[in-house]
Symmetry: C2
Subunit: 467 residues, 2 copies
């Protein structure tokens, strides 16, 4: 989406402000669009929309009904339509794409950089895709097909093929003259120049500001600095990590033979970072794949699997309780208090596992410091166990005035918090070692352990101490 | 940290690779550093360190003990030391800063852009800060003091004062000549030129690639595009939202009078996005403020508050159970099964609230679509409630062979999942309306509700239906 970067159109369209202070479309503006769409007033719609940023057009689409969207799409200027497509939510994009004629779409896509165009084509149905591609010039078509040939979520998919490469013997002046001649493969927006050898392998990079600062007769070889190369098959999460760690603005992408085939820019990386973070948060909460604006059935499908798994672990915990039916019948206070032990254990486990999952994702937790981190977690669990265990014992004593019952629950909380600390760190580490995403299944395992251990230890100790 | 952007030093230092394929320092390399530090071999340390990227030096510091860090700091070249400081974890940075003489630090800080220098000075103790500032030239000192005058987490703190501004009547050639003359206030790295009026108010921006593409005699007025202005007092989270939404690479910062006072670049934004995401995930798990590498006591302090709150809600849930002591005594199966109702409700509530918190953060959930989203959540809760309720009833029947008990628990699960859906969306919305961060306290409230409702409905229904 680099072609729109740094540029935001005037937010005042026609006679009013389209955006409020928080950069959200105003209700008044959305209403005007709805009115114009209802009236079928195309020229009014065009004047309302033409100055909007594509990101705001996409937001607008989210606020409209499908009927109004159908009208708006017809009146969007082709270039704005093209730039809006990559910004739309998946569901809405599918709907919009269904309504645009293949010829119009083929024209619109040529306005985009190859990565954005490929991302749109990727979403088309097979027959629509064929129709759109065959309506495109051969070069653009080949670029999109090459891009789609790379694996999903790989650097190859993410990169744009347009890139500014220069041979080592060029001077600053040669480079500027080359750019001013506007060669066909020049990206719309770029931040670095890559210096390549005769085999097209990157030798180094020069930031545009460094190029601008240098005199015309300076050789690129003197300005060039080492660059971090990305390979086409690298996973996008890996690419995002490198950009973040080294504060990159753009990076060259090379094929298996080390030849320059494209570049990745930071604006695409920001989207990936947000997407990966969103996924992590939702996975930790047991939500598998929920796109915004999804319908009820899709939401159900994204949430019910983990609820079923949770049912399994909850029944297991009940089986543990069932083994202590005699104790429960003898002392109803046990039934009243036992959820406290499980609940506090579950929360402590969630704290520990969340910290561990984050540390694994940011590579702060590695096999070289796992033992030290484990030791720290156990110490934290023991300390919290003493503190919270004492509090719980005190509360139980005030309520039931039975010293041994208080002792039992205090001990149970202590033991369960240590178990929670162990589970909270070992479960994510084990999943990571097995090459599984620790965010996905850690919470299930950890609460399974803290529930079962909590009930078992509390009721078991009660049998030993009280009865 | 923009001065190191796009440039990564060769990862091969001396006779071996410092980084493995995942961009993590190899154990072998860390060992060599440790050996050299133990031997007090300064020239060996220098040759090991000099080619590392500052981000890798910071990682290295994290792997070393305090004693080894003290040796390494002495041998780090001043410029590398300066660039490493902003990359260090807070705890380690404080420790390193304690060991560097004010004069050395004052020299090192002049290598940094004003935002990074201010971020380091901010962390110094009052007397050390005074010593460092008074050892700096007046201009740099004033820049840092101005920066620290802005509120924490504001755009003013985040921006660098170095910015390239050009008057409207300049041509491309004028601008390039100006940059080649290397004026003192030129940023190390920049991506956009801001065109300003005589009062220094931004009129528009030009991407460097657009400038480079144009002929020398083209006027900036012809190339200029509208820019998104940031004001000095905007919150950094707000700034990150704007960068992300409009795919900005840099943006001009203006004071209250609208005059250009600096710029913010996307590399700083990436850090903020990661930091805010990290905070959100940890807050949802009830971890208040845990920096990486924190000691046991700090970790305890960051986790115990929510455990205490959780103790309160768990005791409340037990009070609910306590009201049904008669029912529990009459039928021990109730005690065995009741955690299932609470556990499934808690998980469904967590799913709903996590989705709601994310949607609020990304401004997809606003007052204009809250009712629609609420309706969807209730539908999802009811559907999941029927499905999971039926499953639970089936399991209970297989176990206890009591049809009425099965009916009771099935109904309780259904009701609790609808309650979970309601709580999961209404609690975050209410907190947001009250200008509280919904990530911080939503989980407590929601599980409080699902636990209490779960026990109350299950045991209450049991009293009505079974006894």
């Amino acid at each position: 989406m680099s072609d729109t970067a740094t540029l935001e159109p005037d937010v005042v369209t026609e006679d009013h402000e389209a955006l409020d202070r928080d950069y959200v479309l105003t209700a008044a503006f959305v209403e005007k669009v709805v009115d114009a769409a209802d009236d079928g007033n195309g020229s009014r719609l065009q004047s309302l929309l033409e100055d909007l940023h594509p990101a705001d057009v996409a937001d607008l689409m989210g606020f409209l009904t499908a009927e109004h969207r159908a009208v708006v799409v017809v009146w969007l200027p082709p270039e704005l339509l093209a730039e809006t497509l990559p910004e739309l939510d998946d569901g809405i994009r599918d709907e919009v794409l269904d309504r645009v004629a293949p010829g119009t779409l083929a024209t619109a896509l040529q306005e985009l950089d190859s990565d954005d165009a490929a991302a749109v084509v990727e979403d088309l149905e097979a027959d629509q895709r064929e129709a759109v591609l065959s309506a495109m010039p051969l070069v653009e078509r080949a670029a999109i097909e090459t891009s789609l040939g790379y694996e999903e979520d790989s650097a190859g998919r993410l990169m744009q093929r347009e890139v500014l490469a220069a041979p080592l013997f060029w001077t600053v002046g040669d480079t500027i003259d080359h750019v001013r001649a506007e060669p066909a493969d020049l990206p719309d927006l770029f931040f670095d120049i890559y210096v390549v050898d005769p085999a097209n392998k990157p030798l180094g990079g020069i930031a545009l500001s460094a190029l601008l600062r240098a005199q015309r007769d300076v050789r690129l070889a003197e300005l060039m600095e080492p660059v971090t190369e990305i390979t086409v098959d690298q996973d996008q999460e890996e690419v995002a990590y490198v950009f973040e760690k080294y504060h990159l603005i753009s990076a060259p992408v090379v094929d298996a033979a080390g030849r320059l085939v494209g570049q990745i820019t930071v604006d695409d990386i920001v989207n990936i970072i947000q997407e990966e973070n969103r996924e992590d948060i939702l996975r930790l909460a047991g939500v598998s794949d929920e796109s915004r604006g999804a319908g009820v059935f899709r939401v159900v499908r994204s949430r019910i699997p983990w609820l079923v798994v949770n049912l399994g672990t909850a029944v297991f915990a009940s089986l543990v309780i069932g083994r202590f039916a005699d104790e429960l019948e003898a002392l109803v206070a046990l039934a009243i208090l036992m959820p406290v032990v499980a609940s506090i254990g579950g929360n402590a486990g969630t704290q520990a596992l969340t910290v561990a999952v984050r540390a694994l994702a940011s590579r702060e937790l590695t096999s070289s410091n796992a033992v030290r981190v484990l030791g720290r977690e156990i110490a934290v669990g023991a300390f919290n166990g003493f503190a919270i265990g004492a509090l719980v014992a005190g509360v139980a004593y005030l309520w039931f005035q039975q010293p041994l019952l208080s002792l039992t629950i205090g001990l149970a909380v202590l033991i369960n918090l240590v178990a929670a600390a162990l589970a909270g760190i070992l479960v994510p580490l084990a999943l990571d070692r097995l090459d599984r995403d620790p965010a996905v299944s850690s919470p299930v395992f950890v609460t399974w352990i803290t529930d079962s251990v909590g009930f078992f230890v509390f009721l078991g100790l009660a049998g030993l101490i009280l009865l």
